[in-house]
Amino acid sequence: MTKPQNESKNTELRENQVIVTAKRALGINKFYIAIAIIIGFGVLFFLNPTYVNLSIYSNSSNHSINASMDMKTPIGGNNALGVPLLAVPFSVLPMMMLTTPMVILFVYDKDNGVLEYLLSLGMTQRRIYTRYLKAALLIAGAYLLIFGTLNLLYSFVQFGTTYLSTMLVILGIGALIAVSTVAFIITMMMIFSSLQKSRSGGNQPLAISLGLVGVLPGYFIPFILSYNTAIVVEIVQGAIIAVVALSLILMSPRLINREKFLP
C-alpha cells in the first residue's frame, strides 16, 4: 500500500472519534433518549406557545388582553416581564436527560478498563474528559438543531411571524444555557464517577441536581425582571455555568489523579 493510501486510511480511522463516542452513548441506553424526545415535543407543542402567549398578560402597560387575541402584538419593551423566557429552563430539560447515556458510557468505560487503556496511550485526564464532553455536546447540538428548527416551524405555522423573534431569543438563550449546563453536568458526573471508590450509583442524580440548581434561576427570573433585563441576566447565568464547567475541565489533571480512572 502506498504512503498516500496509508495516510488516507489513517485519516479515515482517526476522524469521527467524537461521533463514535456519541453513537456509543446513544446505543448504550435508549430510555433517556426516548424521555428527552417526549419532553422535547411537550415543550414544542405546549410550553413554548403557552409561555409566549402568557407574556401578553404579564405586560400591564404596553399590551392588552385583546391584543393577545389577534396574535400580532410584539413582545418585549422595557416594562414587559420576561415571562416568555420561562420556556428556556423547560427547553433545557431534555438535554439534561440526554447527558445520562454519556455518563453511563463513561462509567462503563471506566469499569471495563477502556479509560485505563486511554491513559496508557498517553491521554491526560483532561483529554479523556473532553472526549466525552465533546460527544455529549454533539448530541445536545443535534437535539438543539432538530428541535430548534421544529420550534420555529411550529411557531411560524401557528402564529405566523409574530413570535418568531421571541422564539429565536428563547432558543438562543436556551441553547447557551443548555450547552453550558450539559457541559457542567457531564463534567460533574465524570468527576463524581472518577472519585467513587466503588459504584454507588449516586453520581447521576447528584450531578443532575446540581445542573438543576444552575437552571433554577430560569424559573424565577422571568417573573421578577423585565424582558430585556431577564435576557441579559440569563445570558450571564449561562456564561457563568460554562466558565465553571470549563474551569473544572482545565483543572481536572490537578483535581483528579490518574488512578481515579482505573477500574
Binding site: K9, Q17, V114, E116, S120, L121, G122, N257, E259
Partner: protein, 284 residues
C-alpha cells in the same frame, strides 16, 4: 536495541506506595517474566511503566528519556491490562478500528496476527472470555511498539491458545522488550529467559531464569514395581514414587539403581518448578 531503566521507583495509589525502591535496567531484546504472588505489585509496576500512574518518586527512562516527560516516549510502550478494555457493543473489527483511530495501526494486520478472521464481524459481547482476551491482545499489537507490558496475557485462555499466544510473543520478542507478568511458574519457565521477581512491592530478584537453581528437587517416578526398598521414596496419591534429592545428579543415580534391579521406569519428572521456592522465603 532499547533500554528501559527504572531508577529507585516508588509508586502506588492515592499517595500510598505499593512499590518500594524498584531499580533495574533491561537492555537486551527478550521476554522478561515479572513473577510474583498475587498482590505483590506486578500490575502496579506495569501501570507505572505504562505511565498510567505517576511514580511517587524515582524515574522511568526509555532510551534515556523519562516516560512521563512526553507522550511520544509513552507512545513507544503498550500495555495489556487484566481488563479487556473492549467496547462490548461493537464488532471485533470495529473495536479494533476504534483503537486504531486513536493510536494508529491497522486492524486488518492485528486480525491476521491473532487469527481473528472468524470473529471479525461478531459483537464483542457475544464472545467467550478467551475470545475477548485474544481480541484484547490484538488491540495491543495494532501498532508496532518498542516495549510491550503484558499483564497475565494468557489468563482465561485454554492451554492450546495460551501456547499459541506465548509462541507469538516469543516471535515478536526478537527485537522488542517484553515484560510479561505471571504468577504461573510453569508458564514463566516456558516463555521467559529473564526473571524479575516482585515480592511485597520490592524487587526480590533480577536474573536469568537459567541461573535460578533449586535448593532441593522432588522427583516423581512411575515404575512397574515397588521401588521404596531400593531408593528412599514414598508413593503419592498420583501414583508417583516421590524422591527428594539435593542435586539433579542424585536423581540419575537413583534411576540407575532402579533400572539395575530390572524394574521398568515408565516416567520420571521433576514435580516442583525450580521457581516455586522463590514464592516463599527463598527469593528474599
Amino acid at each position: 536495541m532499547h533500554t528501559l531503566e527504572l531508577d529507585n521507583v516508588n509508586s502506588g495509589y492515592n499517595g500510598k506506595p505499593v512499590l518500594h525502591n524498584i531499580s533495574f535496567t533491561v537492555k537486551e531484546s527478550s521476554v522478561y517474566v515479572v513473577l510474583g504472588p498475587n498482590g505483590a505489585g506486578k500490575t502496579t509496576l506495569f501501570r507505572t511503566i505504562a505511565g498510567i500512574i505517576e511514580p511517587i518518586s524515582g524515574r522511568i527512562l526509555l532510551d534515556g528519556k523519562d516516560i512521563n516527560s512526553s507522550n511520544a516516549v509513552r507512545g513507544d510502550i503498550n500495555y495489556l491490562s487484566h481488563y479487556n478494555a473492549l467496547p462490548e457493543e461493537m464488532t471485533v473489527y470495529n473495536a479494533l478500528r476504534f483503537y486504531a483511530g486513536m493510536e494508529g495501526g491497522d486492524p486488518e494486520k492485528a486480525i491476521d496476527l491473532l487469527g481473528l478472521h472468524g470473529l471479525r464481524d461478531k459483537r464483542v459481547s457475544d464472545l467467550s472470555q478467551g475470545q475477548k482476551k485474544r481480541v484484547s491482545i490484538a488491540k495491543v499489537f495494532l501498532k508496532d511498539r518498542d516495549v510491550y507490558l503484558l499483564d497475565e496475557p494468557t489468563a482465561n485462555l485454554d492451554p492450546g491458545l495460551s501456547k499459541e499466544i506465548r509462541d507469538l510473543i516469543l516471535k515478536i520478542s526478537k527485537d522488542k522488550l517484553i515484560l510479561y507478568s505471571s504468577h504461573n511458574l510453569y508458564e514463566a519457565t516456558d516463555i521467559g529467559m529473564n526473571l524479575i521477581l516482585i515480592k511485597d512491592g520490592k524487587l526480590a530478584l533480577f536474573d536469568k531464569i537459567a541461573n535460578v537453581r533449586s535448593k532441593s528437587y522432588r522427583v516423581g517416578i512411575k515404575a512397574s514395581k515397588d521401588i521404596t526398598k531400593i531408593v528412599d521414596a514414598k508413593k503419592d496419591s498420583n501414583g508417583y514414587y516421590v524422591l527428594n534429592v539435593s542435586k539433579p545428579k542424585e536423581a540419575g543415580l537413583a534411576l540407575k539403581k532402579i533400572v539395575e534391579k530390572g524394574i521398568l521406569v515408565t516416567e520420571m519428572r521433576e514435580l516442583d518448578n525450580p521457581l516455586q521456592e522463590l514464592f516463599g522465603d527463598g527469593g528474599k
